[in-house]
């Protein structure tokens, strides 16, 4: 036990000796936010006595070999193919996550087009089909706020993997992979439209859903939902983003 926790007992997330506590995820996962209190009510609604609880929330972290099943084969082939192109795999693949039976490669953004092309063209990998890109905004993940998530499907080998690329809010640039997977044309426009991620090299990166003169990027977490309170059976129901939440 360390003394850093003050006098109010031990916080497992701050105690170095607490690695073996059940349910403890360790510190290797990506911290995305801090949960305060027992139920997540942030307006004084927590009367449980656990209101002072502080718990960082982390996404699943780096996996260790073996990944299991065909995951190792894909990872080996990808690393081998990168080495053949005289790239150091550890520079390209930031980390590999295996979670809920799905394999995720976190790719350094400058290497994304090369990795995508390798995954598509290497006969042992052959991920022919890209199902587009999805953006995720983690304001609490400092320096990696904007994530772009690609799901690639190999019809040849009947496999599915995920690529994840991140960019900071201050420099929201990610190379486009439209020339590798032309299907990403609209998908990248959609992600630009909603998250403000700029896909460098996209042939015509314009808004696709929102009007052309729209200000702001609606799916970012700091962009309000909007809405007005409505009256129902005599009671005022606040707009959805003004209601009490327990997240």
């Amino acid at each position: 036990m360390t003394d850093a926790n003050g006098s109010n007992g031990v916080n497992p997330d701050q105690d170095l000796n607490a690695e073996n506590l059940p349910g403890h995820r360790g510190d290797q996962g990506e911290p995305i936010r801090v949960q305060r209190g027992m139920f997540g009510a942030n307006n004084g609604g927590d009367t449980t006595g656990y209101g002072g609880l502080v718990r960082p929330v982390r996404l699943p972290g780096q996996a260790t070999r073996p990944y299991g099943g065909w995951f190792d084969e894909v990872a080996d082939e990808l690393e081998g193919a990168l080495e053949e192109q005289s790239l150091l795999p550890e520079n390209v693949i930031e980390k590999t996550v295996v979670d809920r039976g799905q394999l995720t490669f976190h790719i350094a953004r400058e290497h994304l087009p090369r990795v995508a092309r390798t995954l598509r063209d290497d006969p042992a990998l052959r991920f022919e089909l890209c199902t587009g890109v999805s953006g995720v905004h983690f304001p609490g993940d400092k320096g990696r706020e904007l994530h772009a998530v690609y799901h690639l499907r190999s019809i040849t080998h009947s496999r599915m993997i995920r690529l994840e690329v991140s960019a900071p809010d201050s420099d929201p640039h990610i190379p486009s992979i439209v020339d590798v997977y032309p299907t990403n044309d609209w998908h990248e426009r959609e992600t630009y439209d909603f998250f403000g991620l700029i896909f460098d090299g996209h042939p015509a990166l314009t808004r696709i859903m929102m009007p052309d003169d729209w200000q702001g990027f609606p799916q970012r977490k700091d962009y309000p939902l909007g809405g007005i309170p409505v009256e129902y059976k005599g009671a005022q129901i606040p707009a959805p983003d003004q209601r009490r939440s327990y997240s």
Binding site: G132, V136, T183, I208, M209, P218, L225, P240
Partner: protein, 460 residues
């Protein structure tokens, strides 16, 4: 239609016809983009005359977003040279409703009420993809009761029938084949009746929930589905008789909207369009979910790469769906339709009251009067919802239009952190340029109909 620019000219009054009263029917207006005419039909002569005076033949036509043959609010921007389309582009976003953003402000269970409205012709697929994603995040895929999975498959396959019927019906109507339209909607009505019986609603069901289903099948469902199967087997033959061998129908569809395998792969096109190139890629076979690997059915293909092949595939898929529905009925064993974990299972003992479907009064009486624990659970689940461990999952189902994927991200809270849908209509619509350029204007209608886009799913 507006040519070449979308803004209606000020002071323009639609006329009743070429000889109708009122001001000049096609009003011209000078803009930085060139001369703009707003035409509403019957007044094309003036536009053609004006275009003949200009030195280039090139006209840009905005078809839609309010054109009856563009499947809802799709805007096609066509550059035409005579009757030939030299460039085709799509304008979308007219039906964007912010469903993905709205999901982030509701709890996980409420999400189904939103996603069911995306592609409104395939509501059960939207719900199933979303719920399978949430279940994967919760790690309860194996705990979903068999009966729930069988009913999910049953509903999805009935939904495939109704979606394909609309695809064929509206596609036929856009060609002027109104009989196909009447037949298609007649048969779809039978399916919507079944949906109404089971879920209470013809569309927008929110019936599939994370962990299982909202409630069990009502009495009489199996009989009604069996009767439907009998009728449908008889009616399906009519489409063959009416359209499959029809020389006019074939002439309009064959070799139109051509897209080969390489084109499909590059553009990410899936579903009947991909299978019309001869590749039997179907997620129900290659990446099964809901126990599809245990059902006996075939994946039809064609090798024509054209609109006619896609039509034949849709017809054959309907026959296969009938087979699957039949197998589902045989497998229906009594049992629960929601996971046993009371921390997740939404307490939905629903009954029809004077103000619509709601919680059954008997159930409320029971939890209010006899079970404090049940009352607490009910209250907490309904007001807070359940927590989903942090992480992300991608689950895809084979919707009638292709791969419908749900990328679901949780931050450990009671609300989805981010849900993104990879809607097949959205992706497939990118193929319009590849299918239509170099063809006739009339073939654009056929090509778009063979993609079968639903703008509710495209724009979300």
């Amino acid at each position: 239609m507006t040519a070449p620019h979308a803004h209606p000219s000020p002071g323009h009054h639609p006329s009743t016809g070429p000889s109708g009263p009122g001001p000049s029917s096609a009003s011209a207006r000078e803009t930085t983009e060139g001369t703009v005419y707003t035409v509403t039909g019957g007044d094309w002569d003036e536009v053609v005359a004006a275009a003949a005076k200009a030195d280039d033949e090139r006209i840009i036509v905005n078809m839609g977003p309010q054109h009856p043959s563009t499947h809802g609010v799709l805007r096609l921007i066509l550059e035409i040279d005579g009757e030939t389309v030299t460039e085709a582009r799509c304008g979308i976003g007219y039906l964007h409703t912010g469903i993905e953003k709205n999901l982030e402000f509701r709890n996980w269970t409420q999400g189904t009420t939103f996603v069911t409205r995306m592609d409104y012709l395939t509501p059960f697929y939207n719900e199933a993809a979303y719920c399978l994603g949430v279940e994967k995040l919760l790690g309860i895929e194996d705990q979903v009761p068999d009966r729930a999975s069988v009913i999910r498959v049953l509903l999805m396959e009935l939904n495939r029938l109704s979606s394909h019927l609309v695809a064929i019906a509206t596609g036929g109507m856009e060609l002027g084949a109104t009989t196909i339209m009447i037949y298609g909607f007649r048969d779809r009505e039978l399916i919507l009746d079944i949906f109404e019986l089971i879920t209470g609603l013809r569309m927008n069901h929110a019936y599939i929930r994370p962990g299982g289903l909202a409630q069990d099948l009502p009495p009489g469902t199996v009989d009604q589905i069996r009767a439907f199967l009998k009728t449908m087997r008889k009616n399906l033959v009519e489409y063959d008789k009416l359209a499959t061998g029809n020389p006019i129908f074939k002439a309009r569809l064959q070799d139109v909207g051509y897209l080969d395998l390489a084109g499909c792969m590059a553009l990410g096109v899936t579903g009947p369009i991909l299978r019309a190139t001869g590749l039997p890629h179907d997620l129900r076979k290659t990446d099964p979910y809901c126990g599809y690997e245990t059902y006996d059915f075939e994946v039809p293909t064609a090798d024509t790469c054209d609109a006619y092949g896609r039509f034949l595939i849709r017809l054959e898929e309907m026959r296969q769906s009938l087979r699957i529905v039949e197998q589902c009925l045989e497998r229906l064993e009594p049992g629960p339709v929601m996971v046993a974990d009371k921390k997740i299972a939404w307490p939905a003992q629903l009954a029809l009251g004077p103000d619509g479907l709601g919680n059954s009064l008997d159930h409320i009486k029971n939890i209010m009067g006899t079970s404090m624990e049940a009352l607490i659970h009910h209250f907490k689940l309904v007001t807070e919802g359940f927590r989903v461990p942090p992480g992300q999952a991608y689950v895809a189902v084979e919707s009638p239009k292709g791969e419908l994927g749900a990328h679901v991200v949780s931050d450990g809270g009671t609300r989805p952190y981010r849900v993104h849908f990879r809607d097949p209509s959205f992706t497939n619509l990118q193929a319009v340029a590849a299918m239509c350029e170099g063809g006739q204007v009339a073939d654009v209608i056929v090509a778009v109909a063979s993609i079968d886009p639903v703008m509710g799913g495209v724009d979300r």
